[in-house]
């Protein structure tokens, strides 16, 4: 399932952070990465392009990560898309909220490529189980 050609969308309003995530993904062998500055732009891109994986921040202007997640889950064409939340929100309520909204995974900043890889392989595993 972890095809290196998978297309990622990295959503964060802080370009430094997008670059960090992009670099970490590159370390893991994923080079097909697009970026979006907020949830609204991300949703537009998702609807237009064939993305396989979304990595999103929580706190963003216009449309937050959690709103984006809900919108994805509510969209028939997108609802199966794995969504990994990467955020500095380490509060219990936030994690629960994300879980309830249907996040596929949750990473608290800062993290390493190792953490990212671990979380992603868990998500792939789960997806494969479902597919099987």
């Amino acid at each position: 399932m972890s095809d290196p050609k998978m297309k990622f969308l990295v959503v964060d309003d802080f370009s430094t952070m997008r670059r960090i995530v992009r670099n970490l993904l590159k370390e893991l062998g994923f080079t097909n990465v697009d970026e979006a500055e907020d949830g609204a732009i991300a949703l537009q891109k998702l609807k237009a392009g064939d993305f396989d994986f979304v990595v999103t921040d929580w706190n963003m202007p216009n449309m937050t990560g959690i709103e984006l997640l809900r919108a994805i889950r509510a969209d028939a064409a997108l609802k199966a898309l794995p969504v990994l939340m990467i955020t500095a929100e380490a509060k219990k309520e936030n994690i629960i909220e994300a879980a309830q909204a249907g996040a596929s995974g949750y990473i608290v900043k800062p993290f390493t490529a190792g953490t990212l890889s671990e979380k992603m392989s868990k998500i792939f595993e789960k997806m494969n189980q479902k597919a099987a």
Partner: protein, 648 residues
Amino acid sequence: MSDFQGMEDLLQDFLVEATDLLSGVDNKLVDLEKSPGDRGLLNEIFRGFHTIKGGAGFLNAHELVSLCHLTENLFDKLRNGEMDVTPVVMDVILDATGIVRDMFGSLERGMQPTAANPGVMSRLRAALEGQLSDGTDPAATAAVAAAATAAVAAAVAPEPAPAQGVPSAAAAPVGAEPDWVSLHQAVTGVVPSAPQAVPEPAAARSANDAGANAVVNAAFGRRAGDRPGTSAPAGRRDAEKSRDNSIRVDTSRLDQVLNLSGEIGLTKNRLTSLRADILAGKADSDTLHALDAAVSQLDLLVSDLQNAVMKTRMQPIGRLFQKYPRIARDLARSLGKDVELVLAGEETEIDKTMIEDLSDPIIHLIRNAVDHGVETPDERMAQGKPGKSMVRLEARQEGDHIVIMVADDGRGMSAERLRAKAIEKGLITDEEANTLDERSSLNLVFLPGFSTAATVSDVSGRGVGMDVVKTNIQKLNGSIEIRSTQGKGTTFVISLPLTLAILPVLLVRLVEQHFAVPLSMVREILPIQQEDIQEVGGRATMVVRGEVMPVLPLARLLGWPQKNHPQYGVLMQSAESSFILAIDSFAGREDAVIKSLDDFRPKGVAGVTTLSNGQIVLILDMKELLSSMGDTRGVSRSSLIGNIARAA
């Protein structure tokens, strides 16, 4: 040497973006003071700290993370309506923001920031628990102060622990959460330690706390307000230089550059093929016509490309302006004045290198406006003015110049008082004072050693005088002037060239040699008739439309012998003087690309440029030439035309 080996790129990116973000936060804080209940603002500020925290985590800047974390938590409570924005809370937040900026400073120098001032950290925590006493208690008596010192000392000791504790607690869920699903299931059950719980400092809220806060506030709050002036140690220059190397450019502008270089490539191909034709002997009128067309097109494209490349260096001046409302606010508060800094023209674009060099002069002008320019609310009321004073910072483009104005609606400047002051300080003589008109009198403030405040306050009187402001502006090939109406206010007008890289010049000729003078100083060119030159007070002068101007021969300025009777005069105007530069002839104007003479710089030469015909020409620095002459009032008539008159 650097704490960030291997992460320099990331660090630079972070700093550029996070500094912008923090300036935005600063501005929003000033707005927040006006409308404390604004949820949108609270949300945006929360997000600012949150984002900075996230980025700082990757740089392992733990101290920055803990500080942002506390501040963010505070804003979380504020935006959720669990707390109200009170002036005390506001002060804590502003102090915290100041420290974040300091920490950026150490990051810029490649060092991990040290722990935030424990006083601010403990006040942040106190604010979080809603236990921050309002500083209205005037308890700072000697006895309390002594107790407070002890309390502060106590607060220092436990500090490192929480500072370490917060990031590790924040990071805990990463490692501690083994499986997403189990966590999901844990929703109803007991969840491991709530990471946001902030360790309570051992220094419990004692009765002395109010005093401690007051003392800590006095000791550090002051410094927060003063930062702009004190943040100029030698190290900063280096950091700025290293940051100079990178620039953020709108991709559409880069696309334009790419597009133009592509078209130039095509035109080059056309020229190459035409050359082949011509070398093969095909030189009919069609070929020549095509050559002409291709060269014209290349001409157009290259100048477009130059413009486009220049534009990549242009940045909106708003980036610079952003940080000023906060500075003005802090200053006004410390002086007991009510000042609003109004920004206008933030979208005006200006060369990036200039933005950095303008920062300090503008800070100084704003300080000056708030400190000396505007009156206290009481004084204003007494004069029938609104209690709140406005300081306006505005930028706009006027032709090939950028104009920046700092205008206040304060008491204005008195030419009379300025003259008296200058005489008292021994800067000018009585006689000189009498000859000064209104404008020249105002310009006295630019003299080194001049300060109008009767008592030098620690705000504006920092040893950096207006003369330094002026020197800095002049270094950018700009000028500064003052307009002031007594009782109505003072406006400082800075005028700058659009860019430093290209300088429009006038080419003048002396004997067989060409020189370039900055076109920005040239007002007009006049023919010189021998009989027009009159001698006033032993100086050669010319009357131009009723105005008497000294005539300065270029030969004399350069130390050359005067061989010919000068045919033309160039009326030059700089901020402090107008004069006629006498030359043999002129050759037109040109956009000079300045090449500086790095190691070897003769006095009075700003640089060199290459003309279209390949000739190398010196660009003259008029101000330096004038000062090297010592006496700028002119030369005698006979030395100018004497021997020629004899020859005639």
